[in-house]
Structures are given as C-alpha cells and as structure tokens.
C-alpha cells in the first residue's frame, strides 16, 4: 500500500532521515518507536508530504506521490492524519470540524455529511457535543474528535503522530481505546507513539528508529522479548521499567 524507497530528508545541514526503505501493506498496524529526534515524526509526515522529502521515492496505492505530477490534495483524502496537538479548528463547532472537508471538497452534501458525522460521533459517545466548540472539550475528547474528523474522509490509511503525547494521563486510555477499535475494524495504521503497551497489543509490526534510520523491526512479541540491536536494547531498558 505504501512503499518508501531510500527516503532522505535534510533540514539544512541536519540529516533527519538517512535513506529509509519500507513497505507497509494493507491492514497492517505499524508502530514506530524511538528516542526523540530519531526522525520518526518526520518519517510519518513525509508519508503524506507534510514534509517534502529531500530525496527518495514514496509510493501510495501504486503511484509515486512525491513527483510534481501527483495531485497531493487528491492523495491526502485517502490518508487520514492525527496530530499530537489535535489541531481542531477552534472557530468551528465539532460538527463543523468533521464536515468541513467532505462538504467543501464536494464529496458529500451538507445533509449527508452531517448524518455521517453524527453517526461517527455516536460511535465515540460524543453526539451531545456536536454543536460545541473545541475550546470546551477535554484533551481526550478533542483527540477522539480529531480522529473522527479524519475518518469522515473514509481514508485508506491513518497516520498517527504521537496522538497521546499531549494528553493528561487519565485521558490517554479513551484515545487508545478508539484506536484499538479502529485497528479491529481492519484500518491500516501507522502510529508514532511512546505507548509501548499499545505497540505490544495492537501493532502487527514494530519499527525502531534512531538517527534517521530504521535500526530494527519485528513482530511486537519478538521485538519486546528479544531485541537484537544494542541501541534497541538500551532504549527499551529505559522505557520499560
């Protein structure tokens, strides 16, 4: 579904991604972990071209997307993204947030979009918040609505950029629960996270990144039980107390 070939990203002289090759298949739940500054968020943001790669190729559903010919707006409709800081639109209601893109892109009529949004909100038990502005919501509610907003576009893959890192600890559970539900429904997911429990439970594959490279990858069971790379071992010994 997503193929990455020799992906390189430099910020000035700073070499953030150093030649990454990766293949993500439909239905996979790929969890990317690693120390901060390892390039994992940049890697994720390159997948939907929020960062422009310096070199290499990114293919999505059989087409190379980092060429001038590719229509990136069209491609992004199929790649949902969830941000660390939610990035809900503060000037729109919850309903407005969810329906903005489907309606303004002419994919759904206002009525269809509203109906669809209410169905999604009911699924996360936040239907009563439809007319509320984001400022009145808790962090966990905001992030769940941000997830639902991305889902309203019926994406083929969901990218999560540290979705629980900005949350109060007691809010983390509800967001992870929703993500697990998505995983059970068969959504293809790429998740950058520090939640090792989530990686172990939901991931079909864990990638460990450091200094712009994927140093090791494996099934979660193997990865956590039997890390092979020295730096993976060091990292895991620090985060798994």
């Amino acid at each position: 579904m997503i193929t990455v070939k020799n992906l390189v990203k430099n910020f000035g002289k700073n070499n953030v991604l150093d030649g990454i090759d990766e293949q993500i298949e439909q239905g996979e739940k790929v969890v990317i972990i690693g120390p901060s500054g390892s390039g994992k968020s940049t890697f994720l943001r390159c997948l939907n071209l929020l960062e422009t790669p310096t070199g290499g190729e990114i293919w999505f559903e059989g087409k190379q997307i980092n060429t001038p010919k590719a229509n990136i707006d069209q491609i992004r409709r199929k790649m949902g993204m969830v941000f660390q800081h939610f990035n809900l639109f503060p000037h729109l209601t919850v309903l407005g947030n969810i329906t903005l893109a489907p309606v303004k892109l002419g994919l759904q009529s206002r009525e269809e979009a509203n109906k669809n949004a209410m169905r999604l909100l009911e699924r996360i038990s936040l239907a009563d918040k439809a007319e509320v502005y984001p400022g009145q919501l808790s962090g966990g509610q905001k992030q769940r609505i941000a997830i639902v907003r991305a889902l309203a576009m019926n994406p083929d893959v969901m990218l999560f950029d540290e979705p629980t890192s900005a949350l109060d600890p007691e809010m983390v559970g509800e967001v992870l629960e929703l993500m697990k539900e998505l995983a059970r429904d068969g959504m293809t997911m790429v998740v950058v996270t520090h939640e090792m429990g989530f990686a172990r439970e939901v991931g079909t594959r864990v990638l460990f990144m450091d200094e712009g490279k994927i140093l090791e990858q494996n099934t979660p069971a193997e990865f956590f039980a039997n890390p092979k790379n020295q730096r993976t071992q060091d990292f895991l010994s620090k985060v798994l107390l």
């Binding site: 990136i72 992004r76 993204m81 941000f83 809900l88 639109f89 893109a101 400022g135 991305a150 576009m153």
Partner: protein
C-alpha cells in the same frame, strides 16, 4: 468686555453666524465618508497583498507543481513588495497630491473620491502588514490539519486560517481606522473640505484661529474616543469567545 462675553462672541462668530456650524458638519461628513470608504478599500487591498506575500513565502523550498501559477504568484509577490516600499516610503500628503494633481486629474472623479482612493491605497499597505501578522499568528498546525484532510492551500487559507486571523487582528484594524480617520485632516491640501479645512475656512473669515481649531479638536477627540470604546467592547467580546 469680560472673558466670558468674548468667548461667547467668538463661539457665535465661529458657529452661528452664516450657519457656519453647517459647514463644519459638512466637513465632518466628508471626513467620515473618506475614512470609512478608504478603510474598506484598504482592507480589500491589504487582504490580497497579505495573502499573496504569505503564500509566496510558504511556497519557498517546496516542489513546484504548476510552473505557470507559481510564476504568476512570484510576479505578484514582487509587485506587492514594490507597492509596500513606495507607499510606506513616501508621505501621505505627497501621495494624495500626486493622485489629485497628477494621475486622477485625467479622470472625472471628484475630490472626495480621489481622497478615498489615495487613502485606500495608502491604508492597504499598513493593513497588509496587519493581516500578514494575523495570518502568521495562527498556529501552523491549522494549515497542516486542513491540508492533511485534502483541502488545497487556498481552501485551507480561506476556510481555516483567515477566519482565525481576522478575529486576531480586529482590534488592530480598528486602530488603523482611527489613525486613518485622523490622517484625513490633510486633504485640505487638495482643496477638499473636510472637518479641518472647514475650520480653516471659518478662520479665514473670522480672523479667529483659536476657537474653530479647538472646536474641531474636540470633535476629532470625541469621535476617536467613541471608536476606542467600541474597540474595547469588541476586544472583550472576542476574549470571551476565545474559550467558547
């Protein structure tokens, strides 16, 4: 004659004789007319210039998909740079006079219309900077969220970033309007009868400089104070809606 009587006499001559208060009122009308329409024109120009400049700046270092539209954008960005440099680098009085005696003498526009256009073009340069700061003050994540949903850059800008930017800069825009309102007092240079010019004309009839000037100073002050109060109310309501 005591002080009080002489004051009453001056007021009488400045305001009542020949219905001079009417010419002051007419002058105020022109001042308001020029300021209101000039700020509308200025906001329109400023918005366009700001969006062009921010778009051009954000397209730097990104791959170019459509060479033609990118070229057009860069061209207009350069044009906006020249516009800002000229307008902010020359006095408004000179700009108004050039417009009045030079460029617009060729047309059939009247003085007030010329003033509206000159002040609108002038104000646009300052409003552009206000808008630019407003757009840049909106969190980068807002644009990213819009783009990640498949909305184009222009759509994300107009539907997501600009509404938030406008809210942030409303108080600055009112400030700009207040400044503009006072700056219009120079239109007498091109013989438009605004509030200041009306007072000047009365002075030349009555040979009393002090009273008409004090009167229009008070009128300006009252108008500006009312606008400042309105801005305070606006700011308070905006602050409230921040945590809506």
């Amino acid at each position: 004659m005591n002080l009080f009587d002489s004051l009453m006499n001056e007021l009488q001559q400045t305001l009542i004789t020949d219905d001079r208060w009417k010419s002051l009122l007419g002058g105020l009308g022109n001042t308001v007319l020029i300021a209101v329409f000039a700020i509308l024109l200025g906001v329109l120009i400023g918005l366009i210039v700001a969006v062009v400049r921010v778009s051009a700046a954000s397209s730097k270092g990104k791959p170019v998909r459509n060479k033609f539209s990118h070229g057009v954008l860069i061209f207009f960005d350069k044009l906006c740079g020249v516009y800002l440099s000229i307008i902010r680098g020359t006095p408004i009085v000179v700009q108004v006079m050039i417009m009045y005696f030079g460029i617009l003498a060729l047309t059939s526009l009247n003085g007030v219309q010329v003033a509206i256009i000159s002040f609108g073009i002038n104000s646009g340069a300052y409003v552009a900077e206000i808008f630019r700061a407003g757009i840049l003050s909106v969190d980068k994540g807002q644009m990213e969220a819009g783009r990640s949903l498949g909305l184009s850059y222009p759509k994300s800008m107009t539907l997501i970033v600009l509404p938030q930017a406008v809210k942030n800069i409303l108080p600055s825009l009112v400030n700009e309007f207040i400044a503009l309102f006072k700056e219009t007092s120079i239109v007498g240079y091109v013989s438009i009868i605004d509030l200041t010019m009306a007072a000047n004309l009365i002075r030349s009839r009555t040979y009393q400089a002090f009273t008409p000037l004090i009167i229009i100073a008070i009128v300006y002050w009252v108008c500006v104070t009312i606008m400042t109060q309105l801005m305070r109310i606006l700011e308070r309501r905006l602050a409230k809606s921040d945590n809506r």
